[in-house]
């Protein structure tokens, strides 16, 4: 009968992969305070399923969608008889398969559907894994275990996605899980009881010639108490082989002598062991540490012999034999840690509880936290990874029905995974139609907007995102602005590339003298200039830089900052020809060039590299305005703004409007309501409107004397004038 924290992990395996995942899940389950039992499908009955509230299924698919051999019979059983309702069962399925077959992951799908048809609650969606199953299987395992860990036995937990998307007509309810932030990962009390109950004897047999095996046996016996074991060391010389049947836990440490011979003190026992009358060793759990010298042909032969013979006699090998060379200490220590933990996981009846192995390790190392000192060397503390609650909201767009919206998922995810991995996970487990540009973590084409920041999602870990007060991370994922959305998060960057082509970004170099070097004449540039040119081209992604401007989505002609800065770098390359430089200047100074950028601050703030880039864009703008002699609206705006500061130290709206907009511009403002709003305070809240309005409507305002009528100068205005005179004689 299962207890309140029990978990049944079933595997149907052909090649061993499902079994491997199931065993790993069993180990991990202790972190979630679950007591897992891992069983092959040919080891269970229907009553096992009915009696459990938490079930994980790992099942591979064999041939053309067939159940693996060890699951076939059970599959027939569950589909032949009357199966009671499984409404109290919470389950999730991991399906392993090979997508090159038509019926990919069919067995897992069948189990998934079967549990659902019996009324069981799918606590986590099925995950279908291809041949590279390790990563998705781990994610499934962690997420499912966490959800199962917070399930109350009486009430299966429901987890649903939330969607306000117009694309889907699914249910849009959220059902809260209770106390899902309160997960106990500690099971020390039950482990302590386990390690104290019943027969805890451990027998350590040594066969030694030089004394190394004996010394090791003594050390391990001493250490065994930390694992709740009572270690006894036995010299093989004089040990009665027939008495072994009384032992449940046996460790053998044996060296090899001469050409693969037993050491002297082990010869007699070995003779007894290989006799045909030797007793069966069923019920014995054992492991062998073998010492030897690899310069001999029959390296560690004695240990290999003991290992094979114990297995032949029916003993159960808990930890694989380790063969040590003359420098044996490190390997022997590692073996002893594994072997002691495994032996400690054998209960009084001789059954091995693999699911408790990790807890026992934690228990033992936790009580022995000696750091770098001690004979065991470093004790690395166990690290427990706690999943983070994450609310993921993703922009969705379906071009077929021209409909957009947002989908939200409530997830529990490991903090170390990147946002790109979150997207892959959602696509693989929840919605295969989710569309985004995938790639490696630094792929410049994967760029997205995440919580308002433009970034490569593969470089952003979940645990680097600031959580809200309730500990939850809100993840808002949108497509890059500035580009037409193809579907969901996928944007069409082709217009940027077309503009790049139009900008003729290639170099046309001037004929010039090279510097004579050992490699022949070669063009050079100063280190300062080279560093500058590199810094302004050192951006992660041209689409990211393009999208960082808040202007580009709203300008009809602006080519965007990435093309401008590329051109500016090319223009300042000393190798460029005068003709090409002039061509680039015309490009930068055109209406679609840098003048069209309305605000550098949106570019500057996106990235540390963008500070240098926005500086370069500013230089490009200054260059473009200078070349046009500050004529046109862009030039006049900058010129007269600066002029008004010299005039009084303060901005003078009157001067600006008059000089930049001119009479037609003022009339436009008059008829469009701008002036009215200023003058009459249409949306104001009672401030003094007269000063504002006068500046807008009175033509004399631009003559030059009027500003002082409205603007008093700052204190020590002469200092401002002196600075202007010192730095810029044009004003």
């Amino acid at each position: 009968m299962s207890d309140a924290r029990s978990l049944l992990i079933l595997y149907g395996s052909q090649s061993g992969n499902s079994e491997e995942v199931a065993i790993e899940a069993g180990k991990e389950s202790s972190k979630y305070n679950l007591h897992a039992t891992v069983k092959a499908m040919d080891e269970v009955s229907v009553s096992d399923i009915v009696g459990n509230t938490r079930i994980m299924i790992c099942c591979s698919t064999w041939g053309d969608g067939e159940q693996p051999d060890n699951a076939e019979e059970f599959w027939e059983v569950v589909n032949s008889g009357d199966i009671p309702n499984l409404s109290t069962v919470n389950f999730s399925v991991l399906a392993l398969g090979d997508s090159s077959y038509d019926l990919f992951c069919e067995s897992g799908k069948e189990w998934d559907n079967w549990f659902e048809s019996k009324g069981a609650n799918r606590i986590h969606p099925r995950v279908d894994c291809d041949v590279d199953f390790e990563e998705p299987a781990k994610i499934w395992m962690d997420a499912t275990l966490e959800l199962l860990g917070i399930v109350e036995v009486e009430s299966p937990m429901m987890v649903k996605t939330v969607s306000d998307s117009k694309l889907e007509n699914q249910d849009t309810t959220i059902e809260e899980s209770s106390d899902n932030n309160v997960i106990s990962y500690s099971n020390e009390v039950s482990i302590e009881k386990f390690l104290e109950s019943g027969d805890r004897n451990l027998s350590i047999l040594f066969g030694s010639q030089s004394g190394n095996s004996e010394e090791l046996a003594a050390k391990i016996a001493k250490k065994s108490s930390k694992y709740g074991l009572h270690g006894s060391v036995f010299d093989m010389d004089g040990f009665d082989f027939n008495s072994l049947s009384n032992h449940k836990r046996v460790l053998i440490i044996c060296s090899t002598w001469g050409e693969g011979e037993m050491p002297d003190n082990a010869e007699e026992l070995w003779k007894a062991a290989i006799e045909g009358t030797a007793p069966k060793l069923n019920g014995i759990n054992y492991s062998v540490l073998s010492l030897g010298d690899s310069s001999y042909d029959l390296f560690c032969q004695s240990g290999k012999d003991w290992d094979r013979r114990f297995e032949e006699l029916g003993a159960k090998r808990l930890v694989n034999r380790v063969d040590c060379d003359v420098d044996y200490e490190s390997m022997a220590t590692q073996w002893s840690l594994d072997a002691l933990a495994s032996m400690a996981a054998v209960d009084e009846t001789g059954n091995f509880h693999e699911e408790r192995l990790e807890m026992i390790r934690n228990f033992a190392t936790g009580s022995d936290a000696v750091g770098a000192s001690g004979e065991d060397g470093f004790h690395v503390p166990s690290l427990i990874s706690v999943n983070l609650p994450v609310e993921v909201t993703i922009f969705r767009y379906d071009p077929e029905i021209n409909s957009s919206g947002k989908d939200t998922w409530l997830c529990s995810l490991p903090g170390h995974i990147s946002v790109l991995e979150v997207l892959r996970l959602l696509k693989n487990t929840h919605d295969g139609s989710l569309t985004f540009r995938d790639g490696h973590s630094n792929d410049p084409n994967t760029a997205l907007s995440i919580n308002g920041r433009l970034i490569l999602p593969g470089s952003l870990r979940l645990d680097s995102i600031k959580s809200k007060e309730d500990g939850k991370i809100n993840l808002r994922i949108d497509p890059l602005p500035c580009f037409r959305v193809v579907r969901d998060l996928l944007v069409d960057t082709w217009p940027l590339e077309r503009n790049r082509e139009s900008s003729k970004p290639w170099m046309i170099a001037a004929t010039r003298e090279g510097k004579s070097t050992s490699q022949g004449p070669i063009g050079v540039m100063t280190q300062t200039l080279a560093t500058y040119l590199h810094s302004i081209k050192d951006y992660q992604s041209s689409v990211l830089l393009h999208a960082s401007s808040d202007t580009t989505p709203f300008s009809e002609s602006y080519v965007g900052p990435s093309l401008i800065v590329s051109a500016w770098a090319r223009r300042n390359d000393p190798r460029i020809s005068d003709t090409k430089k002039k061509e680039i200047d015309e490009f930068i100074g055109s209406n679609s060039g840098i003048k069209a950028e309305t605000d550098f601050s949106s570019i500057r703030r996106q990235d540390a590299n963008n500070i240098a880039i926005s500086g370069a864009l500013l230089n490009a703008r200054t260059s473009a305005l200078s070349q046009s002699s500050f004529n046109g609206r862009h030039g006049k705006h900058a010129w007269w703004y600066t002029w008004s500061i010299k005039s009084s130290g303060k901005v003078n709206d009157t001067v600006l409007y008059r000089q930049v907009l001119g009479p037609l511009g003022l009339l436009s403002n008059l008829f469009s309501g701008v002036t009215a709003r200023m003058l009459f305070g249409f949306t104001r809240t009672g401030g003094n409107m007269v000063n504002d309005g006068l500046g807008m409507v009175l033509p004399p305002a631009g003559i030059g004397k009027m500003p002082r009528q409205f603007n008093s100068s700052v204190n020590n205005h002469h200092e401002v004038i002196a600075i202007f005179n010192e730095l810029d004689g044009r004003f």
Partner: protein, 286 residues
Amino acid sequence: MPLKYAYHPGNVSHSSAPEVKDTMFPIAKTLGIDLTIMEGATSCGAGIIRQVNNRLQLTLNARTFAMAESLGLDILTPCAATAGNLNEDLQTLLKDSILLAEINSILAKTCGLEFKGGVKVHHLLHVLVEEVGLDKIESKVKNPLNFKIAGYYGPNMQQSGMCGEDDAFDPSYLEDLIQAIGGNAVSWDSRTQSVGTPGLLSEEPTVLRQSANVILDAKDEGAEIIVSACNLSHTILDVYQGKASRFSERPINIPIIHMTEMIDFAFGHHNTRLAQLRTRIAVIGN
């Protein structure tokens, strides 16, 4: 100990945004913030002077920093554009000691001043949340502004290292402040988007599209009013609202007020203006 700051009013509170001037000082008095007006401070340049001559803007702002430093005070401003521009130039000067030395030589020659680097620039929002405290603000509220309010930050001050402990890209300080004065903060994506202020007079169609987009986003999220932490952006969002509506398929009428007004009204300093605001919301609000 009262909080003391050297006050920089921003670029337009003396002209097109007198409401800021009217409301800043009453709220400072209520909250015990001691403001020393820097009568000699020039415009921050609004990112425009540097388009003509970057070193000129750096020097003018270095003069402002030196004045605050001589007072032994950090600078406080209610304008996000001013906070952003001053901070940008401050960081440029502090990172480049050679440049700072060159500019100090000009200051010494023209003004007899020196900037040693001992000044910080704060936007009012960050001082209110981090120094004054939202609890204190909440305790001073007499007229809870129970509207659906969208807080607009703009991009200028939302830069790493310039916005206190707030998130540069996903900020919450203004929403926290709105909640503290009794409002219902609206969550919206465009709150840090630029409305293209420096390009208003030269790239008007683009700027008006930017502005219309921001306003529509706020309205779509149910806002009845937008509160701007940027005095310059307020001009576009408010005064140019009618003109911007030409670039929108839907009406974009919505009242826009300065952040200082919102706090001032909540504190009960200008009840007549609050009454006007309530009327405007009733008539043209979302």
